[in-house]
Symmetry: C2
Subunit: 199 residues, 2 copies
Amino acid sequence: MEYYSSEISKLIEAFASLPGIGRKSAQRLAFHVLNMPSERVDELAEILVNARKNIRYCKTCFTLTDTDTCPICANPARDHKTIMVVETVRDLAAYEKTGKYNGVYHVLHGAISPMLGIGPNDIKLKELMVRLQNEDIDEVIIATNSSLEGETTAMYISKLIKPTGIKVSRIASGVPVGGDLEYIDEITLLRALEGRTEI
Amino acid sequence: MEYYSSEISKLIEAFASLPGIGRKSAQRLAFHVLNMPSERVDELAEILVNARKNIRYCKTCFTLTDTDTCPICANPARDHKTIMVVETVRDLAAYEKTGKYNGVYHVLHGAISPMLGIGPNDIKLKELMVRLQNEDIDEVIIATNSSLEGETTAMYISKLIKPTGIKVSRIASGVPVGGDLEYIDEITLLRALEGRTEI
C-alpha cells in the first residue's frame, strides 16, 4: 500500500492480526493510536508487555493470575470443598460476576474435541485428578459449555470421577431466563423438557 | 473486578479504551494477547511505540508519514498542480485505492463544525492557503464528506479560494454505484436529481 507509510501499514497489520478486528477497524484503531499522546501509547505498550510477562497459571486452579495463587484460591472465606470445572478463564469470570457462587474453580483451558485433535491430555484434566486426590473435595460441578465438545468433556470427567465417590454434578441446560420459546432451538427446548422439575 | 487479577483488568481496560471496542471484545483481545508468544507481544508493543514516535505530518500536504515529505508529494510523476482537499488520512487512502487520481492532496484533519466548536483555525486551512500562494496550482478539488460539517467546510473553502482565480470543484454527491434507490435516503436522492447530467 503506497498510500500509507510503512510504519502506519505495519501498525494496521498488527491490529488486523488480532481476533475479530477487520481491516476497517484496524485502520480506525491505528489512526486513533497515532492521534494519542505519546505517553499514553508508551503506557499501552507497557501494559501489553507486562501483562504477558507477569501472567501465569494459578498453581491450584490454573486460572490466569499475576501471583502464584489466584485471589479466589487464596481466599479463606470461599468453600474449598466445592470445585467448579470450567473451560476458560472467561467462563470463570462469567460465574464470578453472578456473585452467588462461593466455591473454587478449576480451569481446563479447552475441551475434549476429537475433531480438532484435542484429547484429555491436552487440557488440565490430570491436574484436576491430582487435586481430587490431594484435597478434601465434596463436590465437583461441571460447568463446561453446552456444546458437543463441552458435553463430551463433561461426560468424560464424570466417568473419571465417579469411582472416587466424590459427588459430580452438571449445570442445568434449558431455556435462558427471558428467552422467548419461539426463538429457541429444538435441542435446547428438548433439554429444558427433559430437565423439568416439579413445582 | 476480583475475578481477574489486576494485570488482566488493566489489559482489558486498555483495550476497552480504544474506539469501537466494547467490554466483551476487550476481554477476547486481552486473552488473545495473554496466549500469544512473549516475543510477539513485545513486537506488537514496539510497533505501537515506534509508529507513534516516528509518524509526523508531511510538511506539504499534512498527511501522516514517517518521512519529511510523504511518498505522494515526493513523487515527480504526480500532477502537483491539482490538489484534492480531504478531511482525514483515511479519506486520502480511500481515493488512493481507486488508483485513478494522479494529483496531490491536502489533509485538513477535521471539518468546520460550529456544534463541536471546531472553527477554520482548528483545521489545516491556513496551510492550504499558503500552498495556493506559493505553489502553481490549477485546480482545487474539495472532497470533504457529504455531511453537514463536510458541506460547510467545502462552502467555506470555496469562498476563500474563488477570489484567487484558482478553479475550485466539489466531488459529486448522488446515488452510490450498485445502490438500490429504495434504500437510499431522501436527501441523497434529491442531490442525485439536482446533479443529473445529460446522457
